[in-house]
């Protein structure tokens, strides 16, 4: 096994990882910083294609408290206020920093970034990832591209003392010993059967290369995880998987049902609000379908063709295949007379802490429950709606604390048996090839999750009976891990991708089973407990896996900072039919924007 040493180790060179490396080198030139990245920092992670907006930003007049109020309302009250406030306080400074590095941010006449939503600004982000990657490279940090992290190394004193990985080019093992480790490998895609079939199966919203490795490493290491049951499910243009916000906002297109009626308003007006939460936008679309008024669409009829061209250009810098599909639609419009409405639908569920709540349970310094390990970005839980800028903010907060910690500790020794065991585990599919190709096991996993754990095929809903079957089949799937086979380092990576997905899926099912209410429609939708129960379940559901594989569930209270928010009622079919017109306070009435991202 190859080995190297450093002071700070950053695992995952994505949005959070690149900024963490620069911050660490700027604040502490004396510290040796290493970044471990499975691809290449120039185009790795969620930002590979680019993005067209920064979705967490405080506009003029907004404060961390007003941002928190918006997040608390959108997530029906279960949010870590401390994490959200500390993150929000850092947002604008980090956006300005990346602008200084070369990110083009258009401004209005008064020099303010262009507003795209409540906390969102327009950017020209096609080259955002190379901008971040080159800065990280120039910072003096050592970048280890093409090293796929596999496990935390635990030191003799119980601290996280390094991380194991292997080269995706040679298959060789590597152990990087460190004083402090930051995990920022993103969320988990590919747990569920994807919305597109066969050759298009990776045409999904989240990066299919973020396989939940960091979450899996933490779970296996016994870290406390939070709120996996808050799955994030994007509402997207069907097939293209393009974000609807881009069209809704730039083209002023409304969500309409098959009868041509705009339907969102109907739901939120009856609830006494002026806009809907992110998940209820998706839920309302499902309800319309269930009521026989589907499919639902974004109405592009009558849209100015010049504006449409602008949207296509915007898609090119974030979701290029969506630009191709929209161009094809526009082609039909030219030959057929009018732009057809585009169908919208939900995608597959993901575990992703940058949009949702799920991930490592961390403290305000972004320390995980394992000493020596910090977490930032999509891998960290408790504070949704962080997006790219929130990942930068969390990275910076974590690194400041890590620098102090690194100065106070030594690298702790790691015993040889642990190193040998990990080498064996990781290399087994190459050295003693079994009979199961990773893609097959992945398909089995995705089928089970889709059918028994609320996938697209089940309209995201589930009950205890299905979850019991999911648990049973996942156990059997995990038993097949020992039969995985690989003939190249690339296939070895695919083997570990599926191992990590299975580990995350098993934990996810335990979370789904524990929360016995429905708090977030579609994201967390129980058929056997369809109501939200604020008296019992306004808590975080956390989990810890012990060495023998048993999962212990823990509940943690929601500690509300001194802010006043009225939660929206659930956009529940029953509530709507009864037309209960209780007016919420003026605060809850304050305008909530369209869902970004």
């Amino acid at each position: 096994m190859n080995e190297r040493e450093c002071d700070l180790l950053i695992v995952g060179g994505g949005a959070a990882g690149c900024v963490a490396a620069v911050e660490a080198r700027e604040q502490a030139q004396d510290l040796d910083v290493v970044v471990m990245e499975k691809a290449h920092v120039y185009r790795s992670g969620c930002l590979a294609a680019g993005i067209s907006a920064i979705n967490a930003f405080l506009h003029e007049g907004e404060t961390p408290e007003s941002f928190l109020r918006y997040v608390v309302r959108d997530t029906h009250g279960v949010v870590r206020d401390d994490l959200t406030l500390t993150m929000a306080a850092e947002l604008n400074a980090q956006v300005r920093r990346i602008e200084d590095w070369g990110l083009p941010i258009p401004k209005d006449e008064r020099g303010r970034p262009l507003r795209r939503g409540r906390a969102s600004i327009k950017i020209f982000g096609e080259r955002l990832k190379p901008i971040l990657g080159k800065r990280a490279e120039a910072s003096g940090a050592t970048i280890l591209n093409r090293v796929n992290a596999t496990a935390l190394a635990i030191g003799d004193d119980g601290r996280v003392a390094g991380v194991f990985g292997f080269s995706t080019r040679t298959g060789e093992m590597l152990l990087v010993r460190a004083k402090c480790v930051l995990i920022c490998t993103g969320g988990a895609a590919g747990l569920y059967r994807p919305s597109n079939p066969g050759v298009a199966s990776h045409r999904m919203w989240y990066s299919p290369f973020n396989t939940g490795a960091g979450l899996s490493m933490g779970i296996r290491g016994g870290a406390e995880m939070t709120s996996f049951e808050f799955r994030f499910i994007p509402l997207r243009i069907k097939d293209a998987v393009a974000p609807t916000g881009e069209i809704a906002q730039w083209l002023g297109a409304q969500q309409i049902n098959a009868r041509g009626e705009p339907y969102l308003e109907k739901y939120y007006q009856r609830l006494g609000g002026r806009s809907m939460t992110t998940q209820d936008r998706l839920y309302a679309t499902l309800l319309e379908k269930r009521a026989g008024r589907g499919p639902c669409y974004l109405d592009l009829r009558g849209v100015n063709p010049r504006r449409l061209e602008g949207t296509i250009a915007s898609y090119l810098s974030m979701a290029p295949s969506s630009a191709m599909i929209m161009s094809d639609e526009a082609y039909y419009a030219r030959t057929g007379g009018e732009m057809a409405p585009v169908e919208i639908t939900g995608g597959e569920p993901h575990v992703v802490g940058g949009h949702g709540l799920s991930g490592y349970w961390i403290d305000p310094q972004r320390r995980t429950s394992l000493p020596g390990l910090w977490a930032a970005g999509d891998v960290a839980g408790g504070s949704p709606k962080k997006y790219a800028s929130g990942a930068w903010a969390e990275a910076v907060i974590a690194v400041r604390d890590m620098i102090e910690a690194a100065r106070a500790v030594d690298r702790s020794p790691i015993d040889a048996a642990q190193i040998e065991a990990e080498r064996r585990r990781v290399q087994r599919p190459l050295r003693e090839p079994g009979s199961v190709p990773p893609r097959e096991l992945e398909e089995r996993l995705q089928k089970v999750m889709d059918e028994y754990a609320g996938g697209i095929g089940q309209h995201y809903a589930y009950a205890e009976g299905e979850l019991a079957l999911a648990r049973l089949h996942l156990e059997r799937i995990e038993a097949e891990v020992g039969a995985l086979t690989a003939s190249t380092p690339f296939e070895l990576m695919q083997c570990h991708d599926v191992v990590d997905r299975i580990t995350v899926a098993r934990q996810l099912v335990e979370h789904m089973s524990h929360r016995k209410e429905t708090r977030w429609h579609c994201y967390q939708e129980r058929l056997d407990f369809p109501e939200r129960d604020d008296t019992r379940w306004r808590v975080f559901v956390n989990s810890i896996r012990s060495a023998d594989g048993a999962v212990r569930m823990v509940e943690r209270p929601v500690e509300r900072a001194q802010i006043d928010v009225q939660l929206p009622p659930l956009a529940d079919g029953a509530v709507i039919r009864r037309r209960r017109n209780r007016r919420p306070s003026a605060r809850a009435n304050s305008r909530v924007p369209k869902a970004p991202g």
């Binding site: 185009r43 790795s44 083009p104 096609e126 050759v199 990776h202 290029p320 690339f490």
Partner: protein, 113 residues
């Protein structure tokens, strides 16, 4: 999904240490075949991020939508320049549409909504 390498154009990035498409793919999907030309390990693995399409110095890579998503292919080519990226979308009737997206430095003026 779909990226396709035009072997007539691909020159393995000349003398570069690591070919650009091999370097930049976020899923590590590109490799150089024995004949010295780039290829993708499996199009089912592709995310369609177009990172390889843009970075190729000879514009040898096109992205195509598979038949399972659209009945007949639309094609995309791109080219990363210093401050912008140029794009060409070829429609099903052969018409080619050009686009530009700003990439680094001073942003262009955008009229507010």
């Amino acid at each position: 999904m779909g990226i396709f390498v035009d072997e007539e154009r691909c020159n393995r990035c000349g003398t570069a240490d690591e070919p650009m498409c091999v370097r930049d793919c976020p899923g590590d999907l590109m490799f150089i075949k024995e004949n010295g030309k780039a290829a993708i390990v499996d199009n089912r693995e592709c995310w369609d991020c177009a990172a390889c399409v843009k970075v190729c110095p000879t514009q040898a890579i096109t992205m195509q939508l598979p038949t399972s998503l659209v009945v007949r292919g639309v094609q995309l080519r791109g080219r990363a320049m210093k401050h912008k990226t140029e794009w060409r979308i070829r429609l099903r009737d052969g018409e080619v549409k050009g686009y530009e997206t700003p990439s680094t430095g001073k942003p262009p003026f955008v009229p507010s909504l």
